[in-house]
Amino acid sequence: MVLKIEGLVKRFGATTAVAGIDLSVHAGTIFGIVGPNGAGKTTTLSMVTGLLKPDDGRVIVHGADVWAKPAVAKRNMGVLPDRLRLFDRLTGAQLLFYSGTLRGLSRAAVVARTADLARAFALDDALDRLVSDYSAGMTKKIALAAAMIHSPRLLVLDEPFESVDPVSSANIIDILRRYVGAGGTVVLSSHSMDLIERICDDVAVVVNGAVLDTGTVEQVRQGRTLEERFVQLAGGANKAEGLEWLHNFSD
């Protein structure tokens, strides 16, 4: 068990963003969190990575409580947040060096791993350019490379495939699979059901800050596609009613 979440709660004023989430993620698996916009995916992942203090509950990463022993827990995590800035006025090489050195890696290790990561992510040509000049897909890739540079046990990725082209996304999936094959663990969020269904071992469906269903992909989708099952869970009864006037076209 690499990640264990128990009774996680987060309130913002009167609204409850996360209402008691429990999840267990096993080592060597890819765990997908799916949910509609505003379901509390990012809030949950922020509490896992130590960016947001939970109002209640615990997060254990490889045996260390993120909020009681942050130094130990953070060492084992690599993080890719969604919609946060990078230090994008550094070049790609500098950003990787910075990420590695902040994690306490030695200069030699960082330099060697930078070369390896650049090759794996096909970023060789871009290393000497400023990250602010990168395309959206390249920015995701360099951020993911920066998250992996200290070889963490657990990767926490918020929307890793957002605005990534199919080639890059196949590239990322390949790298994640190899990482998991070597014993690493990935937790990722997405609202692309297809992708989650294809690459994840386990999933959790999160709606309104609560887990509606969790288990292996097979268990959760119950013979249908994950998308159908998800729409059903997330309240698919919300049919397009009240738009009858759309059937009569105005002349």
Binding site: R75, F87, R89, A93, T101, L130
Partner: protein
């Protein structure tokens, strides 16, 4: 081609009338005011007809040079590409040879050009006098006025093209406001010199002196030529007119070259040059604190928000000292001011460092970097730049002051303020960050925010630094008047106390940074 461009120019002008009444009124007001100023200036110049050549000539030359300089430099402040930007023609396959004269001519058909022409041709009236050989003087006046108008318009277009090249680079978007600051500093001696004038006699001397220089420069030559002719020295008039002519020709060539260049440069695509290697990261030790230092130094060079606050530091002491100098305060006393002031600003600038990271601070928080390492890393560049700066500055100050016994006090106060400033800032930036302009937006915008604590945190840190340096300042002050052991006391209290505050600041600030990391992150997301 020329006809087409002129028609385009006119349709821009007529389209400008299709605005909401409010916009139209504002625009009309601007045009009326501009023309009114030009006409008033022209009438004043024309009235100089009544005074002697030796009075009118310097006034006209200096005034005219000022008008030309203002006209040419307006685009620097304005900083906006003009309507007929050569780059908008880059996709039309027009030859630069045909485009550049057309665009220059089209630029002549504009309200500013009209205003300039009104002022320039006023000198024809000034020099239309019976006493001297009026025919040749009138020739020089008309030729000069033509050259002034054409040269002014060309100069403005050349400057605006150059500015657009500079502005296209992301790092220099703050260029124009900085330019204004620099101009203000450069102009302040002129203002002070004028203010200090005791009599009209002084003023006349000043004008004559200025015009004798300006008359030989491209700015004033075309104004000085008819004046020389009116004074009877035709040779000088011809020489000055030639200077003006050559200047206009050079401006024309520059404009042509710029158009040719701009036709093949798409807007906003001045490519970021590749930077090889790791830059500062490669030069510093590979520890977290030094990595933070390398990142900060890289940002100083690449992020205009830092560049602006750093560029202001050497300007402030100058602005502070210059008026006092002209007001008659002895230079020796004033020489003691810049070092402590610059040290104070250097240390104090750090007091909101975390806010500049914006949401990128997540990297520091999730990496689990020790708070003290973060604090120390951010302090390193300020110390690395500040220590030699203060050492050299103190030596120079003592030299100007003329008494080396003041040196220990200068070192003590300078280093003391720097160290104390960095220490206080390390705490304040972790505890009381306030919103700043987001990365990529102008450094001079101030962000919209609710419940800001910016004045509190600015004043607090400023006051704290000064209070903590109080003893060193006091000892240095007594040393200045009484000598004795006071300067060495100022040295030891300044440096000792400063280092103590620095250490406390780094560790206490680090502790606060770790404890409040989620608050800092929430703050960065909110703003």
């Amino acid at each position: 081609m020329v006809a087409q461009l002129l028609r385009l120019r006119l349709s821009f002008a007529s389209n400008a009338l299709r605005r909401t009444p409010a916009q139209l009124a504002r625009r009309a007001a601007a045009v009326v005011i501009g023309l009114a100023v030009a006409v008033a200036l022209a009438i004043y110049m024309g009235n100089l007809n009544a005074v002697g050549v030796d009075v009118a000539a310097p006034i006209l030359t200096v005034l005219g040079s000022a008008v030309c300089a203002g006209f040419v430099l307006t685009p620097v402040v304005y900083g906006r590409p003009e309507a007929l930007d050569p780059r908008s023609f880059s996709l039309m396959g027009v030859d630069a040879k045909r485009l550049s004269p057309g665009l220059a001519l089209a630029a002549l058909v504009s309200v500013p050009a009209l205003a300039l022409a009104i002022v320039a041709f006023a000198q024809v009236a000034t020099w239309n006098r019976e006493s001297t050989g009026s025919a040749s003087t009138t020739f020089f006046a008309v030729a000069g006025a033509l050259l002034i108008t054409v040269g002014g318009v060309l100069g403005a277009r050349v400057v605006s093209a150059l500015v657009s090249f500079v502005v296209a680079r992301r790092r220099s978007r703050e260029f124009s406001t900085l330019a204004v600051l620099v101009v203000l500093v450069a102009v302040s001696p002129v203002v002070v010199a004028v203010v200090r004038l005791r009599s009209t006699r002084d003023l006349a001397d000043l004008l004559t002196e200025a015009s004798s220089v300006l008359g030989w420069t491209p700015l004033g030559a075309a104004w000085a030529a008819p004046a020389a002719a009116a004074a009877g020295s035709t040779g000088e008039a011809v020489a000055k007119l030639l200077i003006a002519l050559v200047s206009v020709a050079l401006l024309g060539a520059a404009w042509h070259a710029l158009v040719a260049r701009m036709l093949v440069t798409a807007p906003g695509t001045v490519a970021g040059r590749p930077r090889h290697g790791l830059g500062w990261f490669g030069r510093f030790p590979g520890t977290p604190a030094w990595a933070v230092a390398a990142r900060t130094l890289s940002y100083w060079g690449r992020d205009p928000r830092y560049a602006v606050s750093l560029a202001i530091i050497p300007i402030v002491p100058v602005v502070l000292v210059l008026p006092l100098l002209f007001a008659g305060v002895p230079a020796g006393i004033l020489a003691l001011i810049p070092v402590p002031v610059a040290a104070l600003l250097l240390g104090w600038t750090l007091h909101n460092d975390v806010a500049y990271d914006n949401t990128a601070i997540w990297l520091h928080i999730t990496s689990g970097i020790r708070g003290a390492a973060d604090r120390f890393g951010r302090a390193i560049p300020t110390l690395v730049v500040g220590i030699p700066f203060i050492a050299v500055g103190a030596l120079a100050s003592a030299h100007v002051y003329g008494d080396r016994s003041v040196l220990p006090s200068l070192f003590g106060v300078g280093f003391g303020i720097l160290f104390t400033g960095v220490g206080v800032s390390s705490i304040v930036s972790a505890r009381f960050p306030y919103p700043v302009a987001a990365p990529g937006s102008s450094a001079f915008t101030s962000p919209q925010t609710s419940g800001s604590s910016s004045p509190v945190s600015q004043t607090l840190s400023f006051a704290a630094i000064l209070a903590l340096c109080g003893p060193a300042l006091y000892f240095a002050g007594r040393g200045l008047f009484e000598g004795g052991d006071w300067p060495s006391l100022a040295l030891s209290t300044g440096i000792g106390g400063g280092l103590f505050v620095l250490l406390v600041g780094v560790f206490l600030g680090g502790w606060i940074f770790e404890r409040r990391s989620t608050d800092l992150f929430a703050f960065s997301v909110r703003n």
